[in-house]
């Protein structure tokens, strides 16, 4: 039955975690190319090296992204994976699916592809893993005509935006992450499909500072929910937590398996507040909200007693990226608070996006992420081109070197001086 022996991969069928090898083998019954996937992977396991060729530009007409070309470097051994291109399909915001849609996608992929997928890729797309060049256009046709869906991003363009599930199921979301994610994905279809940028650009939307879609670490443009008024406190619920009421487990029950003893509001909440801005007074929990940095910890621990404020919006951080070339970057806090408002088509966010793009498309070098361009020109210059007033919130701390680049117009008398005049007053 098995087309190739896979003694090494067979070892990965053992153990309690679900096995992709078992899954692939089962799929091979109806999609025989899965045997060649297993066969080539087994060879890689034996030789401890990849057997995929470098890249290869393929795609569908009119799109510069969405497909990643891939060819086997041992096609004779494994003809089923000679071509093995990835199709990235833009996911619905928040990663909810109807089974109807998923089944249609699977039917499509059974027809045109290897039958193997990733749910999901690291950026957030659905990844259909492995098809031949000649299948791309028919697949795309059916995808758009029958499923009313589209490819995601790849290459030097806007990548498929992603979000945490936001207020669809989370009480902390400070704005509708799905709505803005979907809306901007639609708005910027052209930027997603037709490479026009110096390099890739990623949006991610998290509803609160817990950042469940890792926006601050993984996106060039991170929109992270926050609030501007006070944390809402339900003092009666605070008492329930202190009393150890079973309906009010600490951290919403996230530590149920540990032997942590009775809940201790002092130790678990007040002492762990990074700004030390909470205290008990007259049996009530007090917060000095002017000192709070909205880190979420106290809210995470006592979700029934504490809630984000009622005046919500988001902080915009710009420029995260992976380590190549100069080391990884987190996104830098650029806009402390912005309204995220569907009524005005997310105007406040869109303004910032387009300003960044206009500038970066002009000055960004080839294969320079926006965070790298920011580093190259320096944060003050970036803020100035963005027409953003520098505020202490932009930095962790002021500079410790004294190397200020003064501009000529800032210095009375300018820079031109006459050394001859100088020498008259100062003998050499």
């Amino acid at each position: 039955m098995a087309k190739h022996e896979t003694p090494l991969l067979d070892e990965l069928e053992k153990g309690p975690w679900p096995s992709f090898v078992t899954d692939l083998k089962q799929q091979a019954a109806t999609k025989p190319e899965c045997w060649d996937i297993l066969g080539q992977l087994e060879l890689s396991y034996k030789e401890r090296i990849t057997h995929w060729k470098h890249g290869g530009i393929v795609g569908v007409f009119g799109y510069g992204g969405g497909i990643v070309g891939r060819y086997s470097d041992v096609p004779k051994l494994f003809p089923g994976v000679e071509h093995f291109h990835t199709v990235r399909i833009a996911q619905p915001s928040g990663l909810y699916y109807s089974t109807e849609n998923l089944r249609s996608l699977m039917n499509l992929w059974e027809k045109y592809g290897s039958g193997v997928t990733n749910f999901h890729g690291s950026t957030g797309d659905m990844i259909l893993l492995g098809t031949r060049t000649e299948n791309l256009e028919p697949l795309f046709w059916d995808l758009t005509h029958d499923l009313k869906q589209d490819l995601g991003g790849s290459g030097s363009n806007l990548r498929t935006p992603a979000c945490c599930l936001g207020n669809s199921r989370c009480e902390w979301s400070c704005y509708d992450t799905q709505e803005i994610c979907n809306s901007l994905t639609q708005r910027y279809q052209d930027e997603i499909h037709r490479p026009a940028f110096p390099y890739k650009f990623k949006f991610k939307f998290s509803g609160c500072p817990n950042d469940c879609v890792a926006a601050i670490a993984r996106s060039d443009f991170a929109v992270i929910g926050t609030w501007k008024d006070n944390i809402r406190i339900d003092q009666a619920a605070v008492q329930k937590y202190i009393a150890g009421d079973a309906e009010y487990p600490a951290n919403a029950g996230a530590h149920k398996g540990g032997n942590w003893g009775k809940f201790d509001i002092q130790k678990e909440v007040i002492a762990l507040c990074p700004t030390d801005c909470m205290w008990m007074e007259g049996g009530e929990l007090k917060i000095d909200d002017t000192e709070c940095t909205r880190c979420m910890h106290c809210i995470n621990v006592m979700p029934r007693a504490l809630r984000p404020g009622a005046e919500k919006g988001a902080t915009i951080c710009i420029g995260a990226k992976a380590p190549i070339l100069d080391g990884a970057q987190f996104a830098t806090m650029i806009i402390p608070f912005v309204e995220v408002d569907k009524e005005n088509d997310f105007e406040a966010v869109v303004d910032v996006i387009e300003k960044v793009w206009d500038w970066w498309m002009e000055v960004g070098k080839n294969r320079e992420r926006v965070g790298e361009t920011m580093q190259r020109v320096g944060l003050p210059t970036f803020l100035s081109v963005m027409e953003i007033e520098p505020i202490p919130q932009h930095v962790k701390e002021p500079r410790s070197n004294p190397y200020v680049f003064w501009r000529e117009e800032e210095v009375p008398g300018g820079w031109e001086r006459d050394v001859v005049e100088f020498r008259k007053r100062h003998a050499a």
């Binding site: 109807s98 990733n118 749910f119 059916d142 589209d150 979301s173 951290n251 380590p323």
Partner: protein, 379 residues
Amino acid sequence: MGYDPKNPMVGRITDLGPRYYGDFLPPVIKANKGTWLYHEIVEPGVLMHVAENGAKVFTIRCGSPRVATVNYIRDICDIADKHCDGFLRFTTRNNIEFMVDSKDKVEPLKATIKSYGSKFPIGGTGACVTNIVHTQGWLHCHTPATDASGPVKAVMDDLFEYFGSMQLPAQVRIALACCLNMCGAVHASDIAILGIHRKPPMIDHARVTGVCEIPLAIASCPLGAVKPFKAIVNGEEVKSVKVNAERCMFCGNCYTMCPAMPLADPEGDGIAILVGGKVSNSKSAPKFSKLVVPFLPNNTPRWPEVVACVRQILVAYAKDAKKYERIGEWAERIGWEKFFEKTNLPFTEKSIDDYRLAYDTWRTTTQFKYTSHTAAYTK
């Protein structure tokens, strides 16, 4: 009608974008979106969210290998059709979530899930080891220094007890990326498994001019180790490049730009372990992961050294850290010297930064703890 290769542009539809999320929300989610009041993790893998009006949604979270076949997806559709009105979701870490709108639907749903054997393990919530974010590896990519799905399977098998329980001091997020491009974004994970190369690229002089733009290949190297070179191929001089191996740090960026410069090698390649990164802004600011084990071999098929190392770190952490303390917060509180001592990982010069900005990591204080490492000085 279908695609007509003769008239590819006729009737073509483009720029549809993703399907509208609103069409895919389970009814209880749709009805209560934006009005959730609080939640509770009822048991490992089972979340309850309660809306302002008292409505509840129960979510059962299941691990997934992420590499999923059509069959596999159809299985989860079957479950969702049977119990969840035909809806389901995935998490940002590739777990599957089945949602039902009342408590009494939870056990039947769990029973169905369990009927698939080990296919859909329930867990991944709270103070656990949730699913490992990972990448393609040898299954699909051209630049990996290790596989992705294999090591992930081996590590998750070993840590399985921590997936389905909530006994750790805090959530532990593990990620794997198979090369320094870090598609798995391991730069901010509690424990990061990172494929690394250790041999400089070979130069396929016969192919350089054909497949690369030489100036781009040269510019690609952050350390200027790639230089123009005239090579002799079949007796003829061709334009090519050479690499100053002494300056190479094996980042692979030249190979990304130039297919004629492959790095991968069975002996050279393997895995580095980084720890202590985090993403959330809770308590402490986001942190980068730090390199604590510079190299472990690609010992296929189950990477025993990697599995053991991850466990070693996790167990030391579980034993020593305080409630709510992420691995990086723990290491910073006890001091990295104590981290190495408590995890019993050997410290090597490879953990000392010597790239750019390195000075920032040097210890410029007399504050340090004595450990086994200083014994030679204090004996």
